[in-house]
């Protein structure tokens, strides 16, 4: 099986999607000839022509508006937002339009063909505007699906599923792992299910939940905790919306403890929704308060980014707090 980094896996998924369905298009700022500032769309214009892979003018609301129209017309646009921090000018087109297209028309029209890709997250010395994790901003929007892969294998399978899914999907890519994360990725066309979490390590004392780049950090924390005799179950949520309540609840019913981690600020972050839901579902089984290990309630800093980020040390402390409660 070939080894790929996360960018190559994404490029490969886009290539397969365009190859297997002429209705798939890729576009965005610098996506065309150059292949995107991260090179996720490299060579796609060469292979599929300028009509199917192209640069757009620099206007996110236009990119998504255009993509909504293309999707309504029956095409399958894969629009790139250069950084997730720059998705907000398109917020109206996504939240008021993409998400509600099918509902408001009673399914006469829909933009299910739409996929929006955006690199997200910190740890790359990006400061305020190249580090944000905006998944929670969108998770309050029925009609959207939100997916975050943790490694190359997942990225390929989830992206192919996202592009072919009948609903609009936001696909947030952990850019810190673009080149850092490598792994075996099947050459063939395959899909991984949307809406399903994955238990990536079984354990009995505490459930650890994360998504995207934070899964790796959480796994590292689990390792450290295991050394101290704490058995950790690690779950990758994978889909933020709709999210897999069952898998998480089952695990917490077993362990009685839950630690959730994401980079975004605490207040209003998606860990809050998960904690609220699981506290309700598992009320009588919880041995200690659900812990949230997240960014601070501030914008994302630069020089002190390491202090800001919810690293493995902070997660380990939360695990112990959970155990020692």
């Amino acid at each position: 099986m070939p080894t790929m980094n996360l960018l190559q896996a994404i490029n490969n998924a886009l290539d397969i999607a365009m190859e297997s369905d002429p209705r798939v298009l890729c576009f965005g700022e610098d996506v065309g000839g150059f292949g995107g500032v991260f090179r996720a769309t490299s060579h796609l214009q060469e292979k599929y022509g300028r009509e199917r892979c192209f640069n757009t003018p620099l206007v996110e609301q236009g990119i998504i508006g255009f993509a909504n129209g293309l999707a309504a017309q029956g095409h399958k646009p894969v629009a790139e937002i250069q950084f997730a921090d720059y998705i907000f000018p398109a917020f109206d087109q996504i939240v008021n339009e993409s998400a509600k297209f099918r509902y408001r028309s009673g399914s006469l029209f829909e933009v299910g063909g739409l996929t929006i890709r955006a690199p997200y997250g910190g740890g790359i010395s990006g400061g305020l505007y190249h580090s944000q994790s905006p998944e929670a901003y969108f998770a309050h929007t029925p009609g959207l699906k939100i997916v975050v892969p943790r490694n190359p294998h997942q990225a390929k399978g989830l992206l192919l599923a996202a592009i072919r899914d009948p609903d609009p999907v936001l696909f947030f890519e952990p850019k810190r792992l673009y080149r850092a994360s490598t792994g075996e990725v099947p050459e063939a066309d395959y899909q991984l299910p949307l809406g399903e979490a994955e238990v990536i390590k079984e354990g009995s004392d505490v459930t650890l939940l994360a998504w995207g780049a934070q899964v790796e950090v959480t796994e590292k924390a689990a390792e450290l905790a295991e050394k101290e005799g704490i058995s950790c179950e690690v779950i990758d949520l994978r889909s933020i919306l709709p999210w897999d309540v069952e898998t998480v609840a089952q695990s917490v019913l077993k362990t009685g403890r839950l630690v959730i981690s994401h980079e975004a600020p605490l207040t209003g972050g998606f860990a809050g929704e998960i904690a609220a839901t699981i506290a309700e579902r598992c009320f009588l089984y919880l041995e200690s308060p659900i812990q949230r290990v997240t960014g601070l309630d501030t914008p994302f800093p630069l020089t002190l980014e390491k202090e800001y980020l919810p690293n493995h040390l902070k997660i380990v402390e939360a695990i112990k707090a959970s155990i020692d409660f």
Binding site: G65, G69, L70, E97, K100, S107, L108, F109, P242
Partner: protein, 396 residues
């Protein structure tokens, strides 16, 4: 490739503000139904002309009747097209019936021209079980897949870049279709407008941007909307073909739109049309224009009534008669009234419709929410007269 412009080099600073350029207004028909001297009517044909005129009368009747229904409390909300029928219907008539229409909200005439039935209008207006939109949107948010009329969305201007994308898709399909998108001069201030025109021009999408410049955005007059002479001069910023037309002149609108369609489809080029018209009615049933404009101004524009203007032309062509007018008016009034009465009585959409169409399939979490709601409604049927009866009938 490079940034040089081919423009002339000068050595005196010369500031321009566009005053040098004038965009004329294209007009064919005078208010008395005769053509301007030297003007030539487009090749419209008797049948198309009658279809246009019939639609105009239908929309007038529908608008009057439904506003009255709103006043009687039978309807929560309504928006009239009054004064802008020529702009909307004349342009729709210039298209092929399977070109896409992406409208703002005041373009019921375009939909009626395509053949949307009075009962279809009514079902939407009353949000009953037969509304295609399942009673989710406010009145006037029509849509029809079979008539290629995109369901209306309230957030302004969002459909404009969507139209560019839709048209781009049509170009890829290579079937020679195009998209028209309608919007007001107010909506043209939104960022989405700029995005749309620029993207359409760069990516050569066969789309017609049709601006109804009716002088107002709710209470805001166009002089507080932009400083320029209308919306048309913006086209130059995108190197887009543009024409300004008398929006109350159905012949000019038709001719301009036909030519715009030709440019769009044959050259894969977007075109901007600015139709100068006037919103004769209030913005909506919630609005009272007396707070922001004069009766005199309204009267001035009432004299330019586009429906009347076309009627006079039709009469002169002998394509229409006063008798036909009378019959049609009566027939439509009756039909609208009867259809309304039937639509009012139709049941509301069933409870389960609340969770449909959010996604292609209802997710587990949402199904749970519906189940809980259904149980709740069963416990309090008296509090939910719209949905409880449907449950008893084994629905939901």
């Amino acid at each position: 490739m490079t940034t040089t412009t081919a423009s002339q080099v000068i050595h005196e600073p010369r500031f321009m503000d566009g005053d040098e350029f004038h965009i004329a207004t294209f007009a064919l028909l005078q208010q008395d139904g005769t053509l301007f001297e030297g003007a030539r009517a487009p090749e419209l044909g008797r049948e198309t002309a009658r279809r246009i005129y019939h639609t105009m009368v239908l929309i007038r009747v529908l608008d009057e009747r439904m506003l009255a229904a709103q006043r009687q409390g039978r309807l929560s909300f309504y928006m009239q097209c009054t004064g802008e029928e020529a702009a909307v219907i004349g342009s729709a008539a210039a298209l092929d019936d399977d070109d896409m229409i992406m409208a703002q909200y005041r373009e019921q005439g375009a939909l009626a021209y395509r053949g949307f039935g009075i009962d279809e209008f009514m079902n939407q207006l009353f949000g009953n079980a037969e509304d295609y939109g399942k009673g989710r949107q406010m009145p006037i948010h029509y849509g029809s897949a079979k008539l290629h009329y995109m369901t209306i969305s309230s957030p302004l201007a969002t459909q404009i870049p969507q139209a560019a994308g839709y048209a781009y898709g049509q170009k890829l399909d290579g079937q020679g279709r195009c998209t028209i998108t309608y919007f007001g001069e107010g909506a043209a201030s939104e960022g989405d407008f700029h995005a749309a025109l620029n993207m359409a021009a760069v990516h050569r999408a066969p789309v017609i941007f049709f601006c109804r410049n009716n002088g107002y955005a709710i209470s805001t007059p166009s002089v507080e909307q932009f400083a320029a002479d209308g919306v048309a001069p913006r086209a130059f910023g995108y190197k887009m073909h543009v024409i300004r037309v008398d929006g109350n002149d159905v012949l000019a609108v038709y001719a301009a739109t036909r030519e715009a369609r030709r440019i769009a489809v044959e050259h894969n080029q977007p075109v901007l049309i600015e139709a100068m018209t006037y919103r004769l009615a209030a913005h909506s049933s919630s609005d009272d224009p007396s707070g922001y404009r004069s009766k005199k101004e309204e009267a001035l524009w009432r004299e330019k009534d586009p429906v009347n203007r076309m009627r006079l032309w039709m009469l002169a062509q002998e394509w229409w008669s006063d008798d036909e007018e009378k019959t049609l008016q009566e027939q439509l009034r009756r039909e609208v009234l009867e259809t309304m009465k039937r639509a009012e009585k139709r049941p509301p959409p069933p409870l389960a419709s609340l969770v449909e169409d959010v996604y292609a399939e209802v997710p587990a979490r949402l199904q749970e929410q519906l189940d809980a709601l259904e149980a709740h409604v069963r416990r309090h049927p008296e509090a939910y007269p719209k949905s409880a009866p449907g449950l008893d009938q084994g629905g939901a």
